[in-house]
């Protein structure tokens, strides 16, 4: 479903070149639930941007369902996102001037879908916010806003969903419920989920963990259950968490 091939990303800073990502490669099959973890500064946000086609790598390539993102124009990538990719952000990123229902409709409307309102209502009900459809984001709590964002992310039946620190702005209880929701949707719809986080606890809810440190993949293994302090790369990363 999602493939990264020798991704590197460098930036020019003054007269140095800074390498944020170095030779990152991995493949994620369809339907998987994968977490990408690393401390701040490890390059995981940059990696997310490349994987989602929001940015282009310096070298290497990203393939989504077989399409090489590097070969597509900016607008074609946007359309691909609209068709196949969903997003959930740390800061929810809802459009403040639209109601919950209208926010969920946006991806559908951008593709000219006439059935947008009906589908949106269905999705909102699915995330438990059927009665808040006409509220604006500033009238909803953090957890509710994130649920709207998830409903929006699923509105175009994406094959791939990126979640960037989805629980970062939520208290632990709400956060847990959000992750549960993601897991449920992953099982029910078969959408591949890529979760980016610095929270190892959260990461362990995924089936597989890819660890980043200083711009390189340091481990890529199925996740161990919580509380299991194995040695090796996992332990090193845990120590790095501090």
């Amino acid at each position: 479903m999602l493939e990264a091939r020798q991704l590197t990303k460098e930036y020019q800073s003054g007269d140095h070149r800074i390498a944020v990502l170095r030779d990152v490669s991995f493949a994620i099959p369809e339907g998987a639930f994968v977490a990408i973890v690393g401390p701040s500064g490890s390059g995981k946000t940059t990696l997310l941007g490349l994987l989602a086609g929001l940015d282009l790598p310096t070298t290497g390539s990203v393939l989504i369902a077989g399409d090489d993102l590097g070969k597509l124009s900016e607008d074609r990538r946007a359309q691909l996102r609209g068709a196949k990719v969903g997003f959930v952000f740390q800061s929810f990123q809802l459009i403040p001037t639209l109601t919950a229902l209208e926010n969920v409709q946006v991806p559908l409307e951008l593709r000219g879908d006439d059935g947008a309102p009906a589908r949106a209502r269905e999705l909102l009900a699915r995330v438990g916010l059927g009665d808040r459809a006409h509220h604006f984001p500033n009238q909803l709590s953090g957890g509710e806003q994130q649920r709207v964002a998830i409903a929006r992310a699923f509105s175009n039946s994406p094959r791939l969903l990126f979640a960037d620190e989805p629980t970062g702005n939520l208290d632990s209880e709400t956060g847990a419920r959000i992750v549960e929701l993601l897991e449920t949707l992953n099982r029910e719809s078969g959408t591949t989920i890529v979760l980016v986080t610095h929270d190892l606890q959260l990461a362990r809810r995924a089936q597989r963990i890819i660890r980043l440190a200083d711009g390189a993949v340091v481990s890529d293994a199925p996740s161990a259950p919580a509380g299991d302090r194995a040695s090796g790369p996992v332990a090193t990363s845990a120590a790095l968490e501090g």
Partner: protein, 853 residues
């Protein structure tokens, strides 16, 4: 599934929810400009339509024949008699100036007398007060007068009016005379009398200036063109001028076109300033939308879709702004005829002109969109990455170094400005000239603003108080609105100040002229045998006669041996041809052997007398006339002085200062040439003392009824009153210029609102008191205001100088006080708007503001 425009429209509408009011405010910058253009165009259309409808009433007939000869030549009289048999109706009016005396009060006033025959006017209606007195006029020795005359003479309806040697009873005042421009009645109030008593007045003596006009109402069998064809040669030979209603209509509509062009310039400038306001405001709007755009891009929107959404919002608001402007224009259009009524020869019937409104709407919308596009296209550069990691506004909007779309839009803006200028101008050159002038002014303002920004950065010193440093820093900080604010302010100041400078200078010239003369009363139409007696009378009453100037009417008979008829008929000489008007006109010349202060010899040598009788006497000719007549020093001119041929030689050219209020002459003869010719006199007297002038005038009229006199101080007062009306109109325009700047300024200033809010709040968090924050804001706006005003005033002095030098050809002295006044007003406006938009900084707690920002 391709996205439908309706869906994008819906998204655009929904997304605009909180921004609508602000966007509308920015778009309303163009409303004033649209309003001005719609008002001006509608008014011009209304007036032209009224002119077309009333053309015949304006002229008084289908055709008007005029001559300044004492009588029509016989061929013309025969022709007119024959027309009577063909069913053509005729009416005559003879117009001349004369003193009017009311015996009861003893007051006199120089007036314009019109002696009319029975059928006058052939078209239109003259209304009077009391009503229907016009039909009575011919029934006796009656007169109908301008109400201003009654005031001037302290008279009433029923009083007896003396004109020359005849007496008339005033039976009413004039309310409306078609074709008359009301403001001229202030200069010479009108008196209508029946034509058959004209001879009784004995006013049409030797040398009087009178215009005889015959108006004709033609028949279907003899339309105007056929009439002209039949009589043209006879009329031209007899030096009778003819005009048709169509020509009158044409002349007037042309004049109205020119007025519209002139006023339209102001409207266009308003519109352009509005465009700048739109660009400023939309720039701020764009910065607030970066986050939303990033989200949309993540969700699959193409850059085209994003641009469409916000363009639709801008277009909708632009349409509302333009519509509001059009409505304003229609309202203004209702007011304009009242403001300009005194200067118009027609009664303007007001009606909405759909073309003008439509054009105004279209142009307004276009300008709004083209200026809004400039900041809007930057949204294309917003990367979806901003959802993950948000950079500063400026960084997020930055595009490639060379963006062809931005260049295209800039080109579009320039072409739009030029296109608008050319489309509204009389000819492409004028339009281009206007566009260039505007562009120059804007470029200068821009350059000045940029220079000041750069200077501010360099000039700031660490030891300055913090408040001042912050204020100065605001001039060059990233995302500063210095240029837009200076442009808006500077332009408003430039317009207003230029208007005041020119007005002051023009008024100065007028008042200086009148003060310079020592005399304050002029007597004219003084016959040859009245010269000495009048002189004695004036001296006897204890006043000084400053000047007694003789006046001899004459025409040119031949130049260098070639008769005037041959010269006029000679079509072969082309550019070297002697001007026809000069050859045919009547010259009123004087004789003296010395030069007077208002003249300056520029070629040859002025005659001083003492030349032997055998040589040709000398004449000195005004330079302008000499050029028109293609004269050279040494040429011989033979003059026809009342039938007597007087040969002369041209020995000098003079430059005459015609603006001085003294008798000035095109041709000055050596004394001996025409000393004994039949002449008139003009006397200038210095009459001081309360009511002295009125008393003297009355005495003169009693002894010499045909002698007219003018009180110069009265003239000055009248001229001032007329100028006051003009000044009022100018002040209105100046006020409009100031009003133009305000919404633009508002847009520009509120564009930086978020930044300032954040900054102010941060300062408060760091410990600044509200007073300190307030003083920083004050210093920022004081500086901006001062900057804009200074630049605007410097530009205005340049502009006013150019106008005075090239257009009015008068000296220029900068008027400091009005300039300072305008500057202070603008600074006040700038500070008020700044503090007004920034008041949130004072109102909210730091926490609330931070959350909101």
């Amino acid at each position: 599934m391709a996205v439908r425009t309706t869906q994008l429209l819906r998204l655009a509408w929904r997304e605009s929810r909180t921004a609508r009011r602000r966007l509308l405010l920015y778009m309303s910058s163009i409303s004033l400009g649209v309003g001005a253009l719609v008002a001006i165009d509608s008014f011009a259309s209304n007036t032209q339509r009224s002119v077309r409808e009333q053309a015949r009433a304006l002229l008084g007939g289908d055709i008007s024949l005029t001559t300044r000869l004492p009588n029509y030549p016989k061929p013309v009289i025969y022709a007119l008699d024959s027309l009577n048999h063909e069913g053509v109706k005729l009416a005559q009016v003879s117009t001349f100036g004369s003193m009017a005396l009311v015996e009861r009060t003893g007051n006199t006033r120089f007036s314009q007398v019109r002696a009319v025959t029975e059928l006058y006017p052939l078209y239109g209606e003259i209304t009077t007060s009391p009503a229907n007195q016009w039909s009575r006029l011919q029934q006796g020795r009656y007169a109908l007068v301008d109400p201003s005359l009654l005031v001037a003479l302290d008279a009433r309806v029923g009083d007896t009016l003396t004109l020359g040697f005849a007496r008339f009873i005033i039976i009413g005042t004039l309310v409306n005379v078609p074709g008359d421009v009301a403001v001229t009645s202030a200069i010479g109030p009108r008196i209508y009398i029946p034509e058959r008593y004209l001879a009784e007045t004995s006013l049409l003596a030797f040398g009087s200036r009178v215009e005889h006009e015959t108006v004709l109402k033609l028949t279907p069998q003899l339309p105007p063109q056929r009439f002209i064809f039949r009589f043209k040669s006879r009329l031209e030979e007899a030096q009778v001028r003819y005009r048709t209603a169509a020509q009158t209509e044409f002349n007037l509509t042309e004049a109205i076109d020119q007025l519209r062009d002139f006023l339209g310039v102001i409207g266009l400038v308003a519109l352009l300033l509005g465009g700048i306001g739109v660009a400023s405001g939309v720039n701020a709007f764009v910065m607030r939308k970066i986050d939303t755009v990033a989200i949309l891009r993540c969700l699959g929107a193409t850059s085209g879709q994003v641009l469409t959404i916000y363009l639709l919002q801008a277009a909708a608001m632009g349409l509302i702004g333009a519509a509001a402007g059009a409505l304003l224009g229609v309202v203004l259009q209702l007011a304009l005829p009242n403001v300009l009524a005194d200067f118009l020869p027609v009664d303007v019937s007001v009606s909405v002109e759909p073309t003008a409104v439509g054009m105004g709407l279209l142009v307004g919308l276009w300008v709004a969109l083209v200026f809004a596009l400039r900041p809007l296209v930057a949204l294309r550069n917003v990367s979806p990455l901003q959802t993950l990691r948000r950079e500063s506004d400026a960084e997020a909007l930055r595009g490639a170094k060379f963006d062809p779309v931005r260049v295209l839009i800039a080109l579009g803006i320039v072409l739009s400005i030029v296109g608008l200028g050319v489309a509204r101008a009389e000819n492409p050159r004028e339009g281009l000239g206007f566009s260039v002038a505007i562009a120059l002014a804007i470029a200068l303002l821009f350059a000045a603003a940029s220079a000041m920004s750069a200077l501010a950065r360099r000039v700031v010193r660490p030891r300055w108080p913090f408040v001042l440093r912050q204020g100065v820093a605001s001039l060059y900080r990233p995302g500063n609105q210095t240029r837009a604010v200076v442009l808006a302010l500077g332009f408003g100041v430039f317009l207003m100040s230029t208007v005041y400078q020119v007005q002051r200078n023009l008024l100065r010239t007028v008042s200086v002229k009148v003060d310079a003369s020592r005399a304050n009363v002029v007597f004219f139409d003084v016959q040859d045998d009245q010269g000495a007696p009048l002189d004695s009378l004036i001296r006897a009453e204890g006043y000084a006669v400053v000047q007694r100037t003789p006046l001899v009417p004459m025409k040119i008979a031949s130049i260098n041996g070639v008769s005037s008829a041959n010269i006029v008929g000679d079509t072969t000489r082309g550019q070297r041809r002697r001007a026809g008007w000069a050859m045919r006109r009547e010259f009123r010349s004087t004789f003296r052997n010395e030069i007077v202060p208002s003249e300056r010899v520029v070629a040859g040598k002025f005659h001083t007398g003492g030349t032997p009788a055998s040589t040709l006497p000398a004449v000195s000719v005004d330079k302008g006339v000499a050029d028109d007549l293609k004269l050279a020093i040494g040429d011989t001119i033979v003059w026809d002085v009342q039938g007597v041929r007087v040969p002369t030689r041209v020995t000098s050219f003079r430059e005459v200062n015609w603006t001085r209020f003294e008798p000035n002459f095109f041709v000055v003869f050596e004394r001996r040439a025409i000393e004994d010719a039949p002449k008139q006199f003009v006397l200038l007297a210095d009459v001081r003392g309360p009511n002295a002038v009125a008393r003297l005038q009355r005495d003169v009229v009693t002894h010499f009824p045909n002698v007219s006199s003018l009180d110069l101080t009265l003239i000055q007062q009248t001229v001032s009153r007329v100028l006051d009306r003009v000044t009022a109109a100018i002040r209105f325009l100046a006020g409009l210029s100031l009003a133009l700047g305000v919404p633009v300024l508002f847009s520009a200033v509120s564009a930086t609102r978020r930044e300032r809010l954040r900054e102010g709040v941060l300062l408060k968090v760091l410990g600044a008191t509200r007073r300190q924050v307030g003083r920083i804001m004050l210093s920022e706006y004081l500086l901006l205001g001062a900057l804009g005003s200074i630049v605007g005033i410097v530009l205005s002095i340049g502009g006013a100088w150019a106008l005075m030098h090239f257009v009015f050809k008068q000296p220029f002295v900068p008027a400091v006080v009005p300039a300072l006044g305008v500057a202070l007003a603008m600074i006040g406006v700038s500070v008020s708007i700044g503090l007004l938009t920034g008041r949130d900084v004072f109102r909210e707690t730091p926490m609330a503001a931070l959350r909101e920002a």
